[in-house]
Amino acid sequence: MTSVPPAAAAVRPGARQAARRVGKRLSGRAASAVAIVIAVLWTTPTFGLFLSSLRPEDQIKTTGWWSFFSDPQLTLENYREVLFGTSSSSGKMAGFLINSIVITIPSVLFPLAFAAFAAYALAWVPFRGRNGIYIGVFALQVVPLQMALVPLLSFFSEGVSVFGLQLMPAWELEGPARFAQVWFAHTCFALPFGVFLLHNFMSELPGELIEAARVDGAGHGVIFRRVVLPLIAPALATFGIFQFLWVWNDLLVALIFAGGTSESAPMTVRLAQMAGTRGNEWQRLTAGAFVSLVIPLAVFLSMQRYFVRGLLAGGVKG
């Protein structure tokens, strides 16, 4: 909390001063005390959830987690059931975990790559209608993805036809091939925000840098790869983490485009089924929540450095 990482090198000096001022104010004693109180308050429910996940079923169902302190009983039964409990319809959690990874990684890399290309073109390749396109992409962020679900689904299952003329055939994917639909959907939904974020970042880069590279004979490809990409690494990481968490936690898009079978459904779908038809097994949910939390937590902790840097750089942009 006390050490705010230095802002990215490309940020203007004014912004750096502002960041320093904020840093100084946040490291005071009173601020630290407040921060600790907030941290404790915000961690308590998570701690309660964690404690719950370790309590026996009948205890979870009859008393609150705080009664643990008067009657401590711990068991790993919930975790055993969640991780290794087999069900012929859905298999083990591990299978869904792999599905989740298979869905998430391309769904992060595709938008990351496309958004970076688009943002570069919109920021540094002069062409007619550039601003119009940028505003259009920016405006797309307002469209809720729920509106696009049905059209996108019929695009996959019926193709595109205008006045009876079939312009694009249906995808007709089955089984594991349905992953492609989920990747496609997540990429579509992520692009507006990705382009917006990376464009903001790229257009902040000093023009001299790009010009110097061009004088040295570099084309757009080289400039993008050698100059721009290394400089916007924090922004890429920020967007990557956002997108990762969003896709990992997503249930809606996966339910519609991946279906609920063990061939292609991610872990969130399994978690939602796990409580049983009438919610009579809800004691499994606490343990399930923690199992699903492990990977995002690891990703976040290992990339946290970039995350804070990227956020700050975006935040103090004037």
């Binding site: 009948d58 009859t62 996959f156 339910l255 279906g259 038809t277």
Partner: protein, 450 residues
């Protein structure tokens, strides 16, 4: 021990079925098939009438998931093996919303198990569902009472055969407690109220209830109202009320709701084990009846499926820790039963889909499913001897009784804005202290105009 052996057993079953599938696959492609398949053909004899559908796939979508879904899939295994088709099953808690999205997006499943006839009707009205083939219609007429078949029929055309069922008109109690205190199971509503009063006199709050259920909070209270309305208005009156021919705030409805209020809103009678009346709204329905096992409550009105919610180690039997009796009406001679169930609707009419539809409507399917675990069906082909526990047996006896008049849970038949919206919310407000007329006026005003 039993927990450890369960996955192993499932794996064994799956493995055996897989082997058999391979064997069947090899057999059909080779000329020496009859000799090799001699053993299986006897097992396959009951499935011959459904034909051969080698390599065909049928997708099934429903709101049944986890353990119950596994049991269905195990039930289908011999059918799949013998007909050569593959049934892909998918269960989701978001069934009601998802089925709409999938159907709109041109990607519906082949078959869907609709838990609400109202939703089924909406899909029929939109022209999405195929009418049931003649064979399914014949099986449904043969296996289900007209009360049931009616709910799968829209505008005179039969669309969906019923599948499972649950009986809602039950009051759970502790046989041990009743025996010890010398209480008898009431046969009429008056006896029930006298018993309630007697129990309250002993210092125990007689009834316990819980209506919290996430976004569906309030539904257990609507079941209460429906059960009493069915007794007060009679089956025809109940149908009129569901169809909104009797307004929600009509005097007879007010009277019925107040009759429930005499129990649920009386501080002397509720909420055993939990506290005052208002604690009903905050108690999860899954836990509503649990105080019975602790002796802090005597009666809990909830459906037959509540058998799954008792704490581990509770015996559900006539002479066990808990059991249920029929929620009595004014006249012991009349036995209207409130219940719910699923209906198998078809979005496509390929031969293999119709074969599955026909199989699901047979008594064989219901019996096979019952042998695997707790299950209730109103199918007349069901052999009561296959019931896995006393409460299933009691439910099936009630459903099979020719004197029983069956009515479906009204909130599943009404427009969703009311049945899955204001009715739930209104009853929650009612528990929380609003008076009957205000609540019923509110629900009446929310009924869609068209």
């Amino acid at each position: 021990m039993s927990l450890l052996s369960r996955p192993a057993r499932t794996a064994l079953v799956a493995g055996t079925a897989g082997l058999a599938l391979v064997a069947a696959g090899c057999g059909s492609s080779e000329p020496s098939a009859p000799a090799a398949g001699g053993g299986t053909s006897a097992a396959c004899a009951p499935f011959e009438k459904f034909g051969k559908h080698d390599g065909k796939k049928v997708s099934v979508y429903s709101s049944i998931r986890d353990t119950e879904a596994d049991l269905f899939q195990q039930t289908w295994m011999p059918f799949e093996k013998c007909t050569g088709m593959k049934i892909t099953y998918e269960g989701a808690g978001e069934f009601e919303a998802q089925i709409q999205v999938r159907s709109d997006g041109g990607n519906p499943p082949d078959l869907a198990f609709f838990p609400q006839p109202g939703l089924l009707q909406r899909f029929v009205a939109a022209g999405r569902l195929k009418p049931a083939p003649a064979e399914v219609k014949r099986l449904a007429e043969q296996n289900w009472s007209p009360d049931w078949a009616k709910y799968g029929t829209v505008d005179g055309t039969f669309y969906a055969a019923p599948l499972g069922a649950s009986v809602k008109s039950f009051v759970w109690y502790s046989p041990g407690m009743f025996k010890e205190k010398g209480w008898a199971v009431p046969k009429t509503w008056d006896e029930l109220m006298t018993l309630t009063d007697t129990i309250a006199g002993t210092g125990v709050k007689p009834w316990c209830a819980g209506i919290e259920s996430g976004e569906a909070t309030g539904w257990p209270a609507t079941d209460w109202i429906e059960d009493v309305l069915l007794r007060e208005l009679g089956p025809e009156g109940y149908d009129d009320w569901v169809a909104h021919k009797i307004p929600f705030n009509a005097p007879e409805v007010v009277a019925a709701v107040d009759k429930v209020g005499a129990i649920l809103k009386n501080e002397r009678f509720v909420n055993g084990g939990y506290g005052p009346v208002k604690s009903i709204a905050g108690t999860a329905f899954q836990e509503g009846g649990v105080p019975i096992t602790e002796g802090r409550c005597a009666l809990h009105r909830q459906a037959s499926f509540y058998a799954n919610f008792w704490p581990e180690g509770t015996t559900v039997a006539e002479d066990g820790d808990v059991f249920a009796f029929y929620l009595p009406g004014n006249d012991p001679a009349e036995k209207p039963v409130l219940g719910a169930g699923e209906f198998v609707g078809a979005f496509t009419d390929r031969p293999e889909v119709q074969a599955v539809q026909a199989y699901l409507a047979t008594g064989d399917h219901a019996n096979a499913r019952m042998k695997l675990g707790t299950y209730v069906s109103a199918n007349k082909g069901v052999d009561i001897a296959n019931a896995q526990n006393p409460i299933d047996r009691l439910s099936i006896e009630m459903l099979h009784d020719p004197d029983t008049v069956f009515r479906f849970d009204g909130s599943d038949l009404m427009p969703a804005a009311v049945g899955a919206g204001t009715f739930w919310k209104g009853m929650t407000d009612w528990i929380n202290g609003k008076d009957t007329t205000t609540v019923l006026d509110f629900i009446e005003a929310s009924w869609p105009a068209s």
